[in-house]
C-alpha cells in the first residue's frame, strides 16, 4: 500500500491544497447550524433587542449563512477538481510504470504471475486503486472533518447535549461497520457464484453443436437453473443484510434525537440550541453513511494495491554475463545444455548441436518433448541450467538482450496479432520499409488473401484477429518473422494450419528469398522439416535422433514411425 500511495507524492501540493479547501468547505457547512441557532435564539427570541436591531442582525447572520453556503460550494468544487486531478495523474503514473514493468518482465516472471493475472492487475486492479484514492480524497476526508467538527461545535454549545450526540456516533459507526464487514464475504460468494454462472454460459455457447447434437438442451437448462437458484439465494442473503444498515442507522440517530429533546427539556435548554443540534445530527448521519461506503472501497482498493506492488517490485534489471566464448565460425551452438522450468525435473537434457550460417535446423517430437524450450533458451527467454549456448561464438548471456534478439525473426506457436492493420502487424513497431514488408508478405504466401482483404495491407484486424482464419493468421505471423530479413529465422510450429500445397510453396520461397538466414523450424509434420540440414528428434527432453532425413529414416525408430503414420506406408517406394 505504501508504495502505491507514494505515487501521490509528486502531486502532494495539489492533494494538500485540495484537502485544505475541503476543510474550509466542511467548516463553512458546520457553521450553518450555528448561525441558524443565533438567528433564532439570540436575535429573534431576544427580548433585549429592538425590532430594527432584530431585523438588522437577522439579515447580517442570514448573509453570513449565504457566505458559508457559497464557501462550501466553491471550496468543494475546487477541492473535487484538485482531487480528480491528483488521483487521475497518480493512476496514470502507476499504470504506466506497471505496464512498463510488465513489458520488461522475463518469461520466468510472467509464468510466476500468470498472464490473466497480469491483465487483471493492469485493468481492474488499477481501476480499483483509482477508485480508492479518488473516493477517499473526496469523501473520506470530508466525512471525518464533518463528524469531528460537528462534535466540537456541539461541545462548545452544550456539553450535555453533545454527550448524547457523542454516544450516538460510535453506535451508528459500529452498526454500519458490523453490517458491512459481514456483508463483504457474502459479496465474494455472490461473485464466485456469478463466475460459475458465466462459466456455464460460456460452456454452452462453445459447446452448442455438441449439446444440440445430443439433444441435451433441456438437461443444460435444468443444470443452469440449479446455478441461478443458488446464486439468487446468496444475492438475497446479501441484500437482506445490507437492507438493515439504512433503517438501523436512521433509527439510532432518530432515537438520539428524542433523547436530545428530553435531555434538552430537563436541562432547560433553549429551543434554538436543540434545533441546532438537530442539524448536527443530520450532518453526522450523512457523514457516517458516506464513511461506510468508503470502507468497502478501501478494503477492495488496498487488496488491489498490494497485487500491483508485487509486480512493481519484480527485478527486471538486465545482467550481462562474462562467460567463455565458443567457436565463432558457427552461427548457433548448443554445448551440453540442460534446463528445467521448475527446478525439479529437467525439461531438456544434455543437448549438443551446431549450425553454420544459412543452414536449416528441424526439430520434431511429441508435445512436451522440449521443442519450444530449445527456442526459449536460444533466444534467452530463460537461462540455461547447465552448459552453454553460443550465437556467433558468443555466449547468449554475454549479449545485451536487445542486441541478441535483433538477430532473430520469430513466429511462436499460437503467436498473437494485434487489433491493428495487417501492415502494422507485420511491421510490429520496427519501422520497416514498404519493400521489406511486401517481400515478406509474398514469401509467406499471404499475398493472395491480403490482396483480397478490404484495403489490402491497410485492412484492420479484429481483436485476436478473429476476422482471419487460422491459416491466414499463421501466414501473417510468418511474414512478421521474415520482414526484417533476420540472421536467424525461427518458426515454432507456425505452419500447422497451412495445407500442404501452401506449406510447400512457403518452403520454396524461404529457400530462395531468405537463403542467408539460418533457420530453425519446429514442426509436427515431417514434410516441414525433411529437407533440413539437421533434424533433431526430441523425446521427453532427450535427443533420440539427430541427422538428415535419409539417415533418420534408418537410424531412428521413432522418426520412422512418425514418417509412416503421416505419409502412409506404401509411399516409401514412390
Amino acid at each position: 500500500m505504501t508504495k502505491t500511495l507514494g505515487y501521490l507524492k509528486p502531486y502532494g501540493g495539489t492533494v494538500v491544497l485540495g484537502l485544505a479547501l475541503k476543510f474550509v468547505g466542511a467548516v463553512a457547512e458546520l457553521f450553518l447550524p450555528l448561525l441558524l441557532e443565533w438567528i433564532i435564539d439570540d436575535v429573534a427570541a431576544n427580548p433585549l433587542l429592538s425590532d430594527s436591531d432584530k431585523l438588522k442582525w437577522t439579515l447580517v447572520l442570514g448573509g453570513l449563512m449565504l457566505v458559508c453556503a457559497v464557501l462550501a460550494l466553491v471550496g468543494n468544487i475546487i477541492a473535487n477538481r484538485l482531487t480528480v486531478k491528483s488521483s487521475g495523474r497518480m493512476t496514470h503514473d502507476l499504470r504506466y510504470d506497471l505496464f512498463r514493468k510488465t513489458c520488461y518482465l522475463d518469461s520466468k516472471q510472467v509464468d510466476g504471475f500468470g498472464v490473466p493475472s497480469l491483465i487483471s492487475r493492469l485493468t481492474s486492479d488499477s481501476y480499483y486503486v483509482n477508485q480508492m484514492v479518488a473516493r477517499t480524497l473526496r469523501l473520506g476526508v470530508r466525512a471525518p472533518i464533518l463528524i469531528t467538527g460537528g462534535l466540537i461545535l456541539a461541545f462548545t454549545q452544550d456539553v450535555i447535549l453533545a454527550c448524547v450526540l457523542l454516544a450516538c456516533v460510535p453506535l451508528v459507526g459500529i452498526t454500519i461497520f458490523l453490517i458491512t464487514k459481514r456483508s463483504i464475504p457474502i459479496y465474494f460468494e455472490v461473485q464466485r457464484k456469478q463466475d460459475v454462472m458465466v462459466r456455464r454460459t460460456q460452456e454452452n455457447v462453445t459447446g452448442v453443436r455438441v449439446i444440440k447434437a445430443l439433444s441435451k438442451s433441456e438437461y443444460e437448462v435444468e443444470k443452469f437453473e440449479d446455478v441461478t437458484r443458488d446464486l439468487a439465494a446468496t444475492e438475497f442473503k446479501a441484500n437482506k443484510l445490507m437492507s438493515l444498515s439504512n433503517p438501523l442507522a436512521t433509527l439510532i440517530l432518530n432515537l438520539g434525537l428524542v433523547v436530545l429533546i428530553v435531555v434538552g427539556a430537563v436541562c432547560g435548554n433553549t429551543p434554538g440550541t436543540v434545533l441546532a443540534f438537530l442539524q448536527f445530527f443530520v450532518i453526522i448521519l450523512n457523514a457516517m453513511i458516506a464513511l461506510s461506503k468508503i470502507f468497502v472501497v478501501i478494503s477492495r482498493g488496498s487488496a488491489s494495491a498490494s497485487r500491483i506492488e508485487s509486480v512493481l517490485e519484480a527485478d527486471t534489471e538486465e545482467k550481462v554475463g562474462n562467460f567463455p566464448d565458443g567457436d565463432a565460425s558457427k552461427k548457433i551452438e548448443f554445448r551440453g545444455v540442460s534446463f528445467s522450468y521448475n527446478g525439479v525435473e529437467n525439461n531438456l537434457r544434455n543437448l549438443n548441436f551446431s549450425l553454420y550460417s544459412g543452414q536449416t535446423l528441424g526439430i520434431i517430437g511429441a508435445t512436451g518433448s522440449g521443442k519450444s524450450t530449445v527456442i526459449n533458451l536460444l533466444m534467452r527467454f530463460y537461462d540455461v541450467g547447465e552448459g552453454q549456448i553460443f550465437v556467433d561464438g558468443k555466449d547468449v548471456r554475454n549479449y545485451p538482450i536487445a542486441e541478441l534478439r535483433r538477430k532473430f525473426g520469430v513466429a511462436f506457436q499460437n503467436d498473437f496479432l494485434m487489433a491493428a492493420s495487417v501492415k502494422e502487424n507485420v511491421d510490429y513497431g520496427r519501422n520497416l520499409s514498404e519493400e521489406q514488408i511486401n517481400k515478406a508478405v509474398d514469401c509467406a504466401q499471404a499475398r493472395e488473401f491480403v490482396d483480397g482483404l478490404d484495403g489490402g495491407l491497410e485492412f484492420d484486424l479484429a481483436q485476436k484477429a478473429n476476422n482471419l482464419s487460422g491459416g491466414q493468421k499463421q501466414r501473417l505471423l510468418i511474414a512478421r518473422a521474415l520482414a526484417a530479413s533476420p540472421e536467424i529465422l525461427i518458426l515454432d510450429d507456425s505452419s500447422s494450419a497451412l495445407d500442404y500445397a501452401t506449406d510447400a510453396a512457403l518452403r520454396k520461397a524461404l529457400a530462395r528469398e531468405y537463403a542467408s538466414s539460418t533457420k530453425v523450424i519446429v514442426a509436427q509434420r515431417i514434410s516441414s522439416v525433411r529437407h533440413a540440414d539437421l533434424i533433431l528428434v526430441l523425446d521427453d527432453g532427450d535427443v533420440i535422433g539427430a541427422g538428415k532425413h535419409e539417415d533418420l529414416i534408418d537410424s531412428c525408430a521413432e522418426y520412422a514411425l512418425i514418417y509412416s503414420t503421416q505419409m502412409g506406408a506404401e509411399r516409401e517406394g514412390a
Binding site: A45, L122, P247, Q524
Partner: protein, 596 residues
C-alpha cells in the same frame, strides 16, 4: 447501499441509441405481474414508513415548543410517541427493502433462466454470428443492472416521491408563506441537475469507451508479451500504451470534473434553502405573522431537508433508470430472437436407423445470394466411409452443418434411410449421428460426468468399457481421483490429445449408427495421434462415417472422397480414381511430398 458492480470491460452500446421504452415496460410488466400483491404490500409498507418518518419532525416541533413551556409531562408523551413512531418507521423501511429485494431476486432469477432457455432453443447460426462475450454480458451484466435497479432504485423513487409530497404538505400546514422559498430553490436545483447530467452523460460514455480501449490493448499486449520482447519493441509498445493511457485519464478527469460538481451544487441549494427558511422564519416569528413558534420553525427546517434531498435523489436515479432500461431492452431482445424452426407438422421420429444417406441436388448459402454448396448429390450406403478434404475455409464444415440440421438447405434434399430429413424431428436426426469435433468440448464436472454426459442410465462399467476402447482408461486411473476427478480450466493437466480421447469415449457410449469425425490432430503429437486414430478406428466399425480429413494419408481407404474448393465439391471418388484423374486432389496429395 450495495456497491454497484461496475463492468469495466463492457464497452457495448455506449453510443446513444433510441430505446424502445414501450417494448421494455410491457415485457418488464409481465415479469412483475406475479408479484403485484407483494408489490402492493411493499409499496404500502414503504408509504406508511415514510409517512411515519414525516410525522416525526412535526412531533419534534411540538415537543420543542413544550420545552419553552417546561411541560415535562407533554414532552414525555411526545418523546414516547416519537420513539414508537421511529421504530415503526424503521421496521417498515426494512421490510419494504427486503420485500423489494425478494421481488428483484425472483425476477432476476426468472430472467436469467428465460434468457438461458431461449438461448438453448436458438439455432446454431445465432452463436456462429456472435461473440460469446456479448451473450454472456447480457446474461450477467445486463440482468444484474435490471435487478439492482429494481431492488434499489424503485424503492428510492417511491420513498422520495412520498417524502416530497408529504413534506410539502407538512410545510404548507406549518407555514404556507415559507414554502415560497422553494419556488426559488426547487427550480434552481432541477435546472442545475439537468444541466449537469446533460453535460456529463456523453463525457461518461467517452470515459467508458476510452477505458475499454485501454483495457483491450493491455489484454492484447500482455498476452503477446513474449513476442514484444522477441522483437525488442517494448519502447514502441509502451509509447503506444502511453497515448491510450493519457487519453483514458483525460477522459476520466473531464468526466469527473463535471460529475463531482453535482454534489456541492446540491449542497448549495440545500444550504440556500436553509438560509432563506431561517431568515424568513425568524422574520415571521419576530413580526408574529401567522403565529410562528420556534418549534414550528424547527419542524419546517427538518421538513425542508426531507424535501430537497429526495428531489436530487430522483434526479440522480433517472440516469440509472435509463441504463437499466437500455439493459432490459438487450435482455428482451434475446428473448425475442426466433428459435430454431419447429419440426414440420407430423414429423416422424427417426428410429432403427440403418445409416443410408442420400443427398440430392443440394443447394445452400449462409447469406442470401451467396451460394456455398451448389447442386451437390451423394449416395452413401450403410457402413461406408466418406472423407471430405480441402483447404481450411473451403466449406467442409458446411456439409456437417447440413447433415446435422444445424442449418437447413436452400434447395434439394437429404434423406436418411430413404426418409427426407425435413419430415423428421430434428432431435431424432441428430441422435442418429455422433460427432467428434476438432474443438473438444468438456465442461466443468468429473471425468465420469463428462463421458456419461446427462445419460442417467449409464453405469460405471459402461464408462470404463468405452474408456478402455478409447485408450484413455489407464490415464484416467492415474488421475488423483480417477473417474471422479473434477475437470476444470486449470486444475488438472490434460493435454489436447487426452481431451480428444475423452470425447471419443463419450461418442462410443452413445452408440449411434452414423459418425461425424472432424479428424483434426494438427496440434497433437504423433504418438497421441496414433492412439486417437486407433480409438477412432474402433469407433468407426460398422458405422456410416463422415470424416473431415486434414491429413491425406488417413483417408486413402475411404469409400468416397469429396474434394472441396471455395465452397464447392469439385471432385469426388475413391483415392485411386481421383489420383488417376490427376486433378485438384492429386495436386493436394503430391504437395505434401514436394521437395524444394
Amino acid at each position: 447501499m450495495a456497491v454497484r458492480r461496475i463492468n469495466i470491460k463492457d464497452t457495448r452500446n455506449l453510443e446513444r441509441r433510441k430505446v424502445d421504452k414501450k417494448f421494455v415496460l410491457k415485457n418488464l410488466f409481465s415479469y412483475l405481474k406475479p408479484y403485484i400483491p407483494m408489490l402492493a404490500l411493499v409499496f404500502a409498507a414503504n408509504i406508511l414508513g415514510t409517512v411515519s418518518n414525516l410525522v416525526g419532525p412535526w412531533l419534534c416541533g411540538l415537543a420543542i415548543d413544550e420545552i419553552a413551556e417546561a411541560d415535562f409531562g407533554a414532552i414525555g408523551f411526545y418523546a414516547a410517541l416519537l420513539v414508537a413512531l421511529y421504530a415503526v418507521s424503521a421496521l417498515l423501511e426494512y421490510l419494504s427493502a427486503v420485500g423489494m429485494a425478494y421481488i428483484s431476486r425472483g425476477t432476476v432469477k426468472k430472467m436469467r433462466n428465460d434468457v438461458f432457455r431461449s438461448l438453448s432453443a436458438l439455432p446454431v447460426s445465432y452463436f456462429d454470428n456472435r461473440q460469446a462475450g456479448d451473450i454472456i454480458s447480457v446474461l450477467s451484466y445486463d440482468i444484474d443492472t435490471v435487478g439492482e435497479s429494481l431492488a434499489n432504485d424503485v424503492i428510492i423513487v417511491l420513498k422520495s416521491s412520498v417524502m416530497i409530497v408529504g413534506s410539502l404538505v407538512m410545510m404548507l400546514i406549518i407555514a404556507p408563506v415559507l414554502v415560497l422559498v422553494f419556488v426559488v430553490t426547487v427550480p434552481l436545483s432541477v435546472i442545475m441537475t439537468r444541466f449537469i447530467v446533460r453535460r456529463v452523460q456523453p463525457l461518461f460514455r467517452k470515459r467508458s469507451r476510452k477505458l475499454g480501449e485501454l483495457n483491450g490493448y493491455v489484454e492484447e499486449i500482455t498476452t503477446g508479451q513474449k513476442t514484444t520482447r522477441a522483437y525488442n519493441c517494448e519502447e514502441k509498445i509502451i509509447s503506444d500504451f502511453e497515448v491510450k493511457n493519457e487519453e483514458a485519464i483525460n477522459a476520466y478527469s473531464r468526466a469527473e470534473y463535471f460529475g463531482t460538481i453535482s454534489g456541492p451544487c446540491v449542497g448549495l441549494v440545500n444550504n440556500l434553502s436553509l438560509t432563506l427558511v431561517s431568515v424568513f422564519g425568524a422574520l415571521l416569528y419576530m413580526f408574529s405573522v401567522g403565529g410562528m413558534t420556534p418549534g414550528q420553525i424547527s419542524s419546517f427546517i427538518l421538513y425542508s431537508r426531507k424535501f430537497s434531498g429526495p428531489i436530487n435523489e430522483i434526479a440522480n436515479i433517472m440516469g440509472e433508470f435509463q441504463s437499466a432500461i437500455a439493459a432490459a431492452e438487450r435482455v428482451f431482445r434475446v428473448l425475442e430472437e426466433p428459435p430454431e424452426p419447429a419440426d414440420a407438422e407430423g414429423a416422424e421420429e427417426l428410429t432403427d436407423v440403418r445409416g443410408d444417406v442420400h443427398i440430392e441436388h443440394l443447394n445452400f448459402g449462409y447469406t442470401e445470394g451467396k451460394t456455398v454448396i451448389k447442386d451437390f448429390s451423394l449416395d452413401v450406403k450403410k457402413g461406408q466411409v466418406i472423407a471430405i478434404v480441402g483447404h481450411t475455409g473451403a466449406g467442409k464444415t458446411t456439409i456437417i452443418n447440413l447433415l446435422m440440421r444445424f442449418y437447413d438447405p436452400c434447395g434439394g434434399s437429404i434423406e436418411i434411410d430413404g426418409k427426407d430429413v425435413a419430415n423428421l424431428t430434428r432431435s431424432s436426426v441428430r441422435r442418429a449421428f455422433t460427432m467428434v469435433l476438432q474443438d473438444t468440448w468438456l465442461f466443468a464436472g468429473t471425468v465420469f460426468e463428462n463421458i456419461a454426459y446427462g445419460n442417467t442410465g449409464v453405469s460405471k462399467e459402461d464408462v470404463i468399457r468405452v474408456c478402455k476402447a478409447a485408450k484413455i482408461h489407464s490415464f484416467i486411473t492415474k488421475l488423483p481421483q480417477g473417474y471422479d476427478t473434477v475437470l476444470t480450466d486449470n486444475a488438472v493437466n490434460i493435454s489436447k490429445g487426452q481431451k480428444q480421447l475423452l470425447t471419443i469415449a463419450r461418442a462410443m457410449l452413445l452408440d449411434s449408427p452414423m459418425l461425424i469425425l472432424d479428424e483434426a490432430t494438427s496440434n497433437v503429437d504423433t504418438r497421441t495421434e496414433q492412439i486417437i486414430q486407433e480409438a477412432m478406428k474402433n469407433l468407426m466399425k460398422g458405422r456410416t462415417c463422415f470424416v473431415i480429413a486434414h491429413r491425406l494419408s488417413t483417408i486413402r481407404h475411404a469409400d468416397n472422397i469429396l474434394v472441396m474448393r471455395d465452397g464447392n465439391v469439385v471432385e469426388q471418388g475413391t483415392h485411386d480414381r481421383l489420383m488417376a484423374a490427376n486433378g485438384y486432389y492429386s495436386e493436394l496429395y503430391y504437395s505434401q511430398f514436394e521437395t524444394t
